[in-house]
């Protein structure tokens, strides 16, 4: 059983290549079926977002697995294999787990801490699960990765601070008003940036949107998009009195809103604050407006400073997220080890040895005074019987483990010998003895798993 990952992302491939390698939701079933139809790939999950396409697979062999996935990608998208390989990255075993955990924790995202990736990975896993492309290993790995994503989001502040201009504006507005529900925004100028900011504000529950533009028709058009109200440019200063938030992004070369205008509109507002966002260059709002009581003005540079500071904060939180990833990685590695053939064979042998020694002790008590020579003979005899009994099954287990669904044999062997009932779980002398013995066997045998019990 080998974990492999073949993928490309915004870090390794330009948009021109990324857009040619997508696996949209409606094509995932077909792609997963093709991928797992051969003898090499046992499980597969395809993550396909605008910034990355990654194929996670459980393969019978590392190199064969990578080759199979690359071939599949090239054939499926009719791409030149050599050209494709240049944009790809590859991970094996532990690297796959770490990479996936970093992806769901959004540490590998274009914007660190963005929240979408966890949902996208969940969706990819759901596709694979529904199309029977996952089994024990990926069910465990992906579910644990969701736990990683959840922990990172709840135990760190990685997604707390806004890292885009429009979200920074929302964050600041919330520092004034607490909630934007029921507030009124005035959009001055019908440009793309003000539209985007207004869109984000509306999604936060803003009650009404007023739009003012030199061209009234354009204002009407934008107002309709937010079910708002278009106002005449001449009424701008009068209607500013009703607004809680003003977003300005006109192409004017002079100040459109001056300190005098704002001072006038602040009269009779009943102490309601006014938050102004000036995202125009050159600026639309006179900076002196910020000197007025209860008025808060942020221009594009101020917002950029906020974004930079928040990015630094996210980088600090990312370091905390790495600790969580290592913690979860250790937990997964421990589980995965139980599916490896070597520790399993060692555990079987350890169990047999414990039984042999127990029975030997009982027999010696019954036989009474035996000479050292007799004892050595009986010990060698029992060793030989156990070795011969286990030799065939363990050899066949090692061979079977190399196959596509090899871990199923391992799992069956563990179940038949009751290894998971005694190893790591439960309590008592037998478990301690087994664990100790298994450790001894593994340490003495190293990578070369011999058949002897060391007796």
């Amino acid at each position: 059983m080998h974990l492999i990952l073949v993928g490309l992302s915004h870090k390794t491939a330009p948009i021109e290549i990324r857009e040619r390698l997508t696996f949209p939701a409606h094509k995932q079933a077909e792609a997963l079926a093709l991928l797992t139809s051969g003898d090499v790939i046992a499980e597969a999950v395809i993550i396909s977002t605008c910034n990355r396409t990654e194929i996670y697979a459980v393969a019978s062999g590392a190199d064969e697995g990578v080759d199979a996935v690359v071939d599949f990608m090239a054939e499926y998208h009719s791409l030149d294999r050599h050209e494709l390989v240049r944009s790809l990255y590859f991970h094996h075993s532990e690297g796959v787990v770490r990479h996936l955990f970093r992806v769901v924790a959004s540490l590998d995202s274009m914007v660190i801490g963005e929240a979408q990736i966890l949902g996208q990975v969940k969706e990819a896993y759901d596709h694979a699960l529904n199309n029977s492309a996952t089994s024990k290993v990926f069910n465990k790995l992906f579910r644990q990765s969701f736990e990683v994503g959840k922990r990172v989001r709840t135990e760190t502040e990685i997604g707390e601070n806004a890292v885009s201009i429009s979200y920074a504006a929302i964050e600041l507005a919330k520092k004034v008003f607490d909630t934007l529900e029921g507030r009124t925004i005035l959009v001055l100028g019908a440009g793309k940036m003000s539209e985007l900011t207004a869109k984000h504000l509306v999604s936060q529950g803003v009650k009404s949107v007023l739009v003012a533009n030199r061209t009234f028709e354009r204002a009407k058009e934008l107002a309709e998009r937010f079910s708002g109200e278009a106002i005449r440019y001449d009424d701008l200063y009068e209607r500013m009195h009703d607004a809680d938030i003003v977003i300005s992004s006109t192409a004017a070369t002079h100040y459109v809103i001056t300190k005098e205008h704002v001072a006038q509109s602040m009269r009779g507002r009943g102490g309601r604050p006014l938050f102004l966002i000036d995202i125009a260059v050159p600026r639309d709002i006179e900076p002196a407006v910020n000197d007025l009581s209860n008025v808060f003005l942020y221009d594009i540079d101020d917002l950029s400073t906020v974004v930079e500071s928040n990015l630094e904060e996210r980088m600090r939180e990312a370091r905390r997220a790495e600790v969580i990833i290592e913690d979860e990685f250790a937990s997964f590695a421990k589980w995965r080890e139980s599916l490896e053939v070597q520790p399993t064979v060692a555990a079987i042998r350890a169990r047999a040895d414990v039984i042999r020694l127990g029975e030997l002790e009982k027999a010696c008590k019954r036989l009474g005074n035996l000479s050292d020579k007799d004892l050595q003979t009986i010990d060698a005899l029992t060793c030989a019987i156990v070795n011969k009994m286990l030799h065939g099954p363990t050899q066949r287990l090692k061979t079977a483990a190399e196959a596509k669904d090899g871990y199923e044999y391992i799992e069956t062997a563990r179940h038949l010998y009751g290894l998971d009932d005694s190893e790591g779980r439960g309590h008592g002398r037998l478990r301690d003895l087994l664990n100790r013995r298994t450790k001894d066997v593994v340490e003495t045998a190293g990578n070369e798993m011999g058949d002897s019990l060391g007796c």
Binding site: K175, V176, F177, G270, N294, V306, N310
Partner: protein, 274 residues
């Protein structure tokens, strides 16, 4: 019983100190677990504190209205008011400002000496007991309002100067801080007014000479006036939140001065707190 009361008092102090440390960590890290434990420790401290006050009162046949006891009651009321306010505005970060004040009051109460036999016989009246209780509660509310007003001015300064410090990120929004301050004053002011009225009734009953010219009585009138103005300005929306925050700070400063005057100026009839 008195010994148990003393032990519980120190238990309460230790728990408040633990809560202060946890609130501090919560303020820096913003991890919810810290705030949960901080609230738990504050709650446990509050129970010990309550039991201590109750047991001492039973042991001594009532709560003596001396300086240390007033501070202990003020610390208790402050934690109580904090819990009420926290329940209303759902922001735990205020604990980082208010629980340490309670700790300080508890510690200072142990540093003050009690003048035995200095209490006036005029005190032996139920009206004075309620008067003191109401004033203590009101003062706790004013302290909460003061903390809110201070936080408002700090946060507003940072918003105006476009600062993105840790303090800026940790402090709640201006609207939330203003709400806390307003509610704290709205809670404290009627209690203060009722307390003052009871005191005035008692003074009229016993008619000590020139009672209205007593420095403490005059200062109390000033505190009442400041917070009364705060309420009028806030609810008629005739002043900005910034202006009312300054007013609340002035009011709390006067409350503090009043507490010091009561313990340092020997003149005047109002000597109950000595």
């Amino acid at each position: 019983m008195a010994q148990v009361a003393v032990i519980l008092f120190w238990f309460a102090t230790v728990l408040y100190v633990a809560a202060t440390v946890l609130y501090f960590y919560f303020f820096l890290s913003k991890r919810a677990a810290y705030s949960w434990y901080a609230t738990f420790f504050t709650g446990a401290g509050f129970l010990c504190h309550t039991a201590s006050v109750g047991l001492r009162s039973s042991a001594e046949g009532g709560t003596a209205l001396n300086g240390p006891n007033t501070l202990i009651l003020l610390a208790w009321a402050l934690v109580f008011v904090y819990f009420v306010m926290e329940h209303l505005v759902k922001v735990k970060v205020y604990g980082a400002a208010l629980v340490p004040v309670s700790v300080a009051l508890m510690v200072v109460s142990q540093l003050l000496t009690v003048k035995v036999g200095a209490a006036s016989p005029l005190v032996e009246n139920w009206k004075i007991g309620i008067h003191v209780a109401l004033i203590v509660f009101a003062n706790a509310g004013f302290f909460v309002a003061g903390a809110g007003a201070f936080a408002y001015l700090v946060q507003e300064y940072q918003l105006k100067r476009h600062r993105t410090s840790v303090l800026f990120k940790r402090l709640p929004s201006l609207a939330n801080i203003d709400l806390l301050t307003r509610r704290a004053v709205a809670f404290a002011f009627p209690a203060y007014s009722s307390g003052l009225l009871l005191g005035v009734f008692r003074a009229i009953e016993t008619d000590p000479p020139g009672w209205f010219a007593d420095p403490r009585v005059m200062l109390a009138g000033l505190v009442w006036g400041v917070f009364g103005t705060y309420i009028v300005l806030h609810y008629t929306q005739r002043a900005s939140a910034r202006a009312t925050a300054w007013l609340a700070l002035v009011g709390v400063l006067l409350v503090a001065v009043l507490a010091i005057v009561a313990r340092t100026v020997p003149a005047g009839f109002h000597v109950f707190g000595l």
